[in-house]
Symmetry: D5
Subunit: 117 residues, 10 copies
């Protein structure tokens, strides 16, 4: 399977561009593969942003994230890359992603990234 | 069914206009229709405000929200429009609406709008 | 039944008046009557304050609140009036009341008042 | 709007008809109208059954329940009628419906019906 | 205030008398007075029954319970009396009441009565 | 301090002796002393019973339990002794006590005794 | 990807075959594909069994379940097939699987299968 | 470190041998080593029993369980062995152990053993 | 019993005096006597502090708090006195005590004191 | 067993060194020995940091923490030492450790340390 691409992400025009408001989107069914062990990782992504001219469309977000299902990547890479992709497509005033992964070896990791930074 | 109208909203005089205080109103039974699929959306609206000269009357708020039951609208539009309607009728010192919609396709969205902004 | 009166409220001397500290008092069994429908309202009052020279006595607080049991009053009036009464009797450095009423018509309301304001 | 009809319900062949097993389906977004007040009722339906030759199809169940959105009916009628409709279409070995409605007037009602009885 | 009377209780015809099914009704806002101290008691009544020819009407149940608001009675008396009143009016196949009172003196009491017994 | 005595326990006449019903009493503030270490033990007693001719009076129960505050006794002894005392005074049709003690050394113990047995 | 095969399942000898005891195994990270939409399904499998001569090995169970990651199958098929595979390999005295899938379209489904039946 | 031995377990005389009653003991800090990986396992043991002539002493139970800290053993072996040891020392009328281990590889296992069986 | 004395409190040298860090200590088993009614009060003390040269030793803290078991004192006095005692003995950079008492007469009180103030 | 050493800790290059972001790692299975009593202590470590050039590798973190399993150390020493070791190896922009230990003698302690300080 080829690398995840942001080209599947679609946006729509922010209907209230003059007001700064926040959209929180929680995706509890994110899954990718560990590049070391080939085992699946599971996690919950919480994406918060203040849209400028565009909002991302939820069905396309789902398709975008689905690309990670059989893609090998470390936690820090996954989270930062998704932020970069979403920022480049929606150009928000502000965006934050919290990626809370389920425990591995009894240890639970959450990565929190923000734009601008 | 015609579009929701703010004309059903009624207000009463703020009994303590000299004190800045906060009223939180939680409406867990909000429902509207998705304009794309024709399927119902469900959500919880939390309306917080500091009244100035007027407070909104709860029964009229319920009637106002009931108009969205068979009305098709996207999350961002619904939330911003309700804020605009409530602000225009009650002219509060400050108002915030958090609209937490139930999951669709495994994804949960919350829209948070504030006035002034 | 006559109107609630603050005259039943008793205070005692703050034993540590030189230290600014906070007392939180939670009264989950507050009940009054809706002046429109004659139906009972129920709620939880959370009273927080920094005492100056006096603290209110809990048994007298209970008697004071008991006066609202058959008294008709709207949420905003009840909460602001209780704050005014408690402030006039205890003259605190600071006081806040959060009155969280149980749902009516599927809608839940909380009123938050503070002194000074 | 005409009365809800079971004709929208679709079934598929039970893939394991020789084993008695249970399917629980929870629908937390059920809503109908109170025939007295014209106000919406909300509830969670939990449908449990042991299929015989057929299982009901979930998308058609959703369409079936959607018919109650603007239909006026009392709790006891709604729950018994849905059981009758689902039984007539799927002919299960056993079926139970628990309909837990959200509070009205501070009172919460749950209706539990079972077939055969 | 005179004693609570079952005469305010209204019933309606059980729409499905041939099926034995259960109705659970939870009333979390029950309050009466302690006959010893004159202080209010609070509790949650859970009424479960299998109707025969009649169901009790919820608004009349609320009015019936409201009569206990200023009525002095012990836990055991209240619970057994309410069961007797509801049984005499609805003549159910079976009925159970669980009355869970809020703590007094750090002690929490629940009374559970059943008919027939 | 002398040994706890059941003589402080008071009863009142069961107002509905012809119906078998259950009274649950939860006492989350029970405390006694460990006879080995002299350290306090804490626990929650849940007393359930079907009264025959008498019910125990709650204030006297509280006084009775208060006697254990400075009394040294092991978990098993405390629980069985309280059951024996309550049974001898109230002569119930059935009684059960669950005594859930707070953790000691990372280990949590609950003793459950029943009469008749 | 080829169909899931039970050949990856490994067993070890039950160390206490003379005692009937129960092993519960919860797998909250099960995922398969919906054969209709091509979208992923997520669920929690709870496998309970009384082993006879063999227990299944957990790492091989994980590999076995991993085969469903890109396999299209309906809820009822998945659950019954996994039961059949585990039964054929471990030959337990008794086994039950509860498969609780995450909501789709606002509806949550759990399938419960048991052997023998 | 040598193998765990039941010789450290101490008992005391059951003070109420004529009454059949239950003692539940929860040990949330059990830990042993996986014999395959050398990694620690963690779990919560819940030991329930009806004592006959003897009860086990809690401090000695703690010492007994502490022996597993650096001992390699599989879940099924650990749980059955602890049951055998506790039964041989206390000779109870009945005993059950539930050993709930923390997740490994995203999979959570509980072993439940009972005596007699 | 004589008054509680801080002389039983023992300290040890802060092993990392050059780093400002926080120690939170939660004591859920605090109990004292009400000086008015002679009835026991129960509460949870949460002691947070930034140590300077000394930390308090936990066993001695327990002995110190145990002195309040049969000591009559009001909530405000108890909390402020414990703060004064702990501050005088450990001389911390900062300390805060939250004393959350269990409900009396349906009212729950928490006292929060801080040093310096 | 020799003292814990930071030499087992491994790092990898921060893949996004130009963005300041946060990594939270929760280790609920930490255990060490009390140097006074020889009894095991249990706790949950929450390590939060903003990486600079390096991130710590999770498997090596687990090995590092495993060294404390049979090592005697007080709460304050353990927490500060782990912070010093992790800081020296990863040289983060910021790091915080919260070590929440399970209750001993009914008292629960949490130590919170931060770098820089």
């Amino acid at each position: 399977m080829s690398d995840p691409t942001s080209s599947v992400l679609e946006v729509f025009e922010n209907p209230f561009p003059n007001r700064s408001y926040t959209i929180d989107t929680v995706c509890p069914e994110f899954t990718s593969m560990c590049p070391m062990t080939g085992q699946p990782d599971f996690g919950t992504l919480t994406i918060s942003y203040i849209p400028d001219q565009h909002c991302f469309e939820l069905k396309s977000l789902k398709l975008y994230l689905l690309q990670y299902r059989n893609h090998g990547a470390f936690y820090e890479n996954v989270t930062n890359t998704i932020l970069d992709d979403l920022v480049s497509v929606t150009k928000p005033k502000w965006m934050k992603i919290e990626a809370a992964f389920t425990p591995r070896g009894g240890i639970r990791t959450t990565v929190i990234v923000e734009h601008p930074n």
